[in-house]
């Protein structure tokens, strides 16, 4: 049974741990994401961000703990959860020999999208690839692939969008264009964003969580995190300062709210 708070809560991570053999990728990670919120997961390389997102999408199973999306527990009904989520992995990996339209048609078939033709056309127009619909993906630049990935993630009109390093490796113009696209998409859905770029997180996210060596060491709005440090006598004017404090030696053993 869901508690009344669950109506507003879209995503719940409850004491989630993930071990790969002897390696612990996540340990007792707890956070909640509200409906309609853009939540940023920050962390250095190997902090466990991608693992957390993969668990959220049902691609990986947690070793312990549970993840609930819109009232549905991922490990119990992974397929139902995957229907609610649009996932953009870190690398915009695609079937190179397919056309943009062919790729979207394939995934539309897997998700059982109705009116696929219309939906594909409008999505390709939205991400600016309408004119390249029939071009092979192997001819696309990384920015175009990333935009096509976003179109793929939005294909089945998911309630939650999970974006893993969406602007990684893009030139500044493409990155800005993509951020604009993400902001537009976040108007009507919950977004979990994982990024290295703290400015991007500050610009897009309502709240952020900082992962450090598999543990969530801080969680809150950027302002709350800054305030929290000030209360400890640490001056941190930017989110980057907060991040460095928590992921450097200064933050060892400290747990945010």
């Amino acid at each position: 049974m869901l508690a009344s708070g669950d109506v507003l809560r879209m995503i719940l991570f409850e004491r989630v741990s993930k071990r790969f053999g002897r390696i612990t990728a996540l340990e007792d990670v707890d956070f909640r994401v509200r409906r309609g919120e853009v939540f940023g997961l920050l962390g250095e390389n190997g902090a466990g961000k991608t693992t957390a997102l993969r668990i959220l999408c049902g691609v990986l199973r947690p070793s312990s703990g549970r993840v609930v999306v819109n009232g549905v527990e991922v490990s119990r009904e992974p397929r139902r959860v995957r229907r609610m989520i649009g996932y953009l992995p870190e690398e915009p990996s695609m079937y190179e020999r397919m056309s943009a339209e062919g790729l979207l048609r394939f995934f539309a078939g897997l998700y059982g999208v109705e009116d696929a033709d219309e939906r594909i056309g409008s999505l390709l127009d939205m991400v600016g690839l309408g004119e390249r619909a029939h071009s092979k993906i192997s001819t696309f630049s990384k920015g175009m692939r990333q935009r096509l990935s976003i179109a793929r993630a939005l294909l089945h009109e998911p309630e939650v969008l999970v974006l893993d390093e969406p602007t990684s490796g893009l030139d500044p113009l493409s990155a800005r264009e993509l951020r604009r696209l993400i902001a537009k998409m976040s108007e009507r859905r919950t977004v979990v964003l994982c990024t290295h770029y703290l400015q991007e997180a500050e610009e897009l996210c309502h709240r952020v969580g900082i992962l450090h060596r598999g543990r969530l060491v801080a969680c809150g709005t950027p302002e709350e995190l800054r305030r929290g440090l000030r209360e400890h006598g640490v001056e941190a004017p930017t989110l980057e300062d907060v991040f460095v404090w928590y992921t450097g030696d200064g933050g060892a053993g400290f747990k945010g709210g």
Binding site: R19, F20, G21, R22, R54, C57, G58, V59, L60, R61, S63, R79, R82, R83, I85, Y87, P89, E90, E91, S93, M94, Y95, R97, M98, F106, F107, G109, L110, Y111, G112, R152
Partner: protein, 550 residues
């Protein structure tokens, strides 16, 4: 579910057919086949530079119906021919001939009398490629009889051969007689070639997709791992099957006689299913393209040698276990194929391999692009689910490695016991060492379970029982395969008979040994382990003593 499987299969197939490199290579190879086969056919035609027909003992089964009271010389000549296997019948064995069990039969009518100077005999030939060889052998035998009769009578005697064909004569088309080597060996071998050309496609579809990251996208969509495996398999199997069908079509289009093309195709589809699924498994487990290439080479080379060996053995020695695909295709080409025995084991193997693929795809380390570490897999199995389920899972998972380890140790022990110990002591020492080794190995997963996770009696006993069961299953499979290859179906049946007692022994011995770990205490543990070893050793001694009950 079916729709998603078909979607995955359709995409995979489109990807394969859209791959210019594969298609170009396949097109060139097919063209070469078109050009080379007729040339080889001419070269190996009977009367040309043909490979000598095999003349090994009992290779040509022939029925003989003797109505004459005076045909001892003829029968003696036939019996003397080493390549013939002579079966005597009281009436014409038409059904045996039609089923392909005989290459033909010879009827010696009542009028035939050797004391009266001979007479006419009738040779009825079947449709298999051995018919030509049979006719040649019979002619030579009759020539011997004729010579002897001439010598006895001083002239005027003779034996006349009347030859009939009961079935369509597959060895005679357009007046060209292909050699038995061409039809019985080369054509079946050629038909297998397309199966060994799909390695690149398999690697691209498994290892490639994993390393490119597209597999992650696929698994994040509402497609189950089973559907991904099924879809990919359908595409790869379909691709390999299409190639086989095309090559078979080319062979038929060249008017090369294949007695049972549909049977040949079915057996090839079975072989394609097992090879594709095994290749997929290796592809999913490989951590890099290099590893995948190496793994597939290690599969394809022995598989190809296996086909070569079975074709060689079946052609030159008459070795023909029907369940080997090479034999199945060779028989389909020459007539008398048994499709189901050749098809079902391949489909069973494919099913097991696909199940393993589904399991491999569930290994989450795979998504990180690396091969799952065995220790990591064991540890994860030990930590997942209830202790009982985890124990059972761990026991089964460990058993292949346990079996290999035990066999290795037992080989060393056998060498040491038989070489170093005096004669009467060697065998009992070996029996005891084998039992102790196997019981110790089967306890390893139990010790691992206890190390990684606190588990009660149920978990420990489940782990021990699963370990014993897994060990028994692998041991049985190896014993059956060995017996079947070396001694045929009858030997395999003899091995299978009584395996129930062996299963009971494994379960009893291992759970007894594991009970020591449940009850605690060093002396109790040692005592129960020795009890388990004792049960195992007593059983082995009973087998050595010739106990039919095992």
């Amino acid at each position: 579910m079916g729709v998603r499987v078909l979607r995955v299969a359709e995409r995979e197939l489109a990807e394969l057919l859209g791959n210019r490199r594969y298609m170009l290579a396949f097109g060139v190879q097919t063209l070469l086949l078109l050009l080379l086969l007729p040339a080889f056919g001419n070269l190996l035609a009977e009367g040309g530079a043909s490979v000598p027909a095999p003349a090994l003992e009992g290779f040509i089964p022939v029925g003989v119906v003797v109505y004459s009271q005076d045909a001892g010389l003829l029968l003696g000549e036939l019996e003397q021919r080493r390549e013939l296997r002579v079966y005597l019948y009281s009436s014409p064995p038409v059904e045996e001939l039609e089923r392909g069990r005989l290459a033909g039969y010879l009827v010696v009518p009542a009028e035939y009398r050797e004391s009266g100077g001979g007479g006419r005999v009738v040779l009825v030939l079947g449709g298999s490629l051995k018919a030509g060889m049979l006719e040649k052998a019979v002619r030579e035998a009759l020539s011997g009889v004729r010579g002897e009769l001439l010598r006895r009578s001083g002239g005027g005697a003779g034996v006349e051969l009347v030859r009939l064909f009961r079935r369509e004569v597959v060895v005679q088309v357009e007046e060209r007689r292909y050699s038995s080597f061409f039809l019985g060996y080369l054509i079946p071998l050629v038909l297998f070639f397309p199966l060994f050309m799909t390695g690149g496609a398999v690697i691209d579809s498994t290892t490639g997709e994993k390393l490119r990251g597209t597999l992650e996208c696929l698994l994040a969509s509402p497609v189950s791992r089973g559907e991904v495996v099924a879809g990919k398999f359908l595409a790869l199997w379909g691709f390999a099957s299409m190639q086989c069908a095309l090559w078979l079509g080319v062979v038929l289009a060249l008017r090369i006689p294949v007695a049972e093309p549909w049977s040949a195709l079915l057996v090839l589809l079975g072989a394609a299913a097992s090879l594709s699924s095994l290749s997929m498994l290796l592809g999913f487990l490989a951590g890099s393209h290099r590893e995948a290439n190496l793994a597939l080479m290690l599969l394809y080379i022995p598989a190809f040698i296996g086909v070569l060996y079975t074709l060689t053995a079946s052609f030159f020695t008459g070795f023909s276990p029907a369940y080997l695909p090479g034999v199945g295709v060779a028989r389909a080409v020459s007539g008398g194929a048994q499709v189901l025995p050749a098809l079902l084991p391949q489909l069973l193997l494919a099913f097991i391999a696909l199940f393993a693929c589904r399991w491999a795809l569930g290994r989450e380390e795979l998504l990180a692009g690396s091969r799952p570490a065995f220790r990591g897999m064991l540890e994860e199995a030990a930590l997942r689910g209830t202790p009982t389920r985890a124990g059972a899972h761990l026991g089964l998972l460990f058993s292949p490695a346990g079996f290999i380890l035990a066999v290795g140790v037992e080989l060393v022990a056998a060498f040491a016991a038989l070489r170093l110990l005096p004669h009467p002591l060697g065998i009992p020492a070996l029996v005891l060492a084998s039992a102790a080794t196997e019981e110790a190995v089967k306890l390893i997963p139990v010790l691992l379970l206890l190390r990684w996770r606190p588990s009660g009696a149920k978990g420990v006993l489940a782990c021990a029982a699963a370990s014993a069961l897994g060990f028994f299953a692998i041991e049985t499979a190896v014993a059956l395969a060995g017996a079947a290859v070396l001694g045929g179906a009858a030997s395999a049946y003899a091995v299978a008979y009584g395996r129930g007692a062996t299963l009971a022994m494994h379960l009893l011995a291992t759970t007894t040994a594991a009970l020591g770990l449940v009850l605690g205490g060093r002396s109790r543990g040692v005592l129960l382990f020795l009890a388990g070893v004792g049960v195992h050793a007593a059983f082995n001694l009973a087998i050595l003593g010739g106990g039919a009950w095992v």
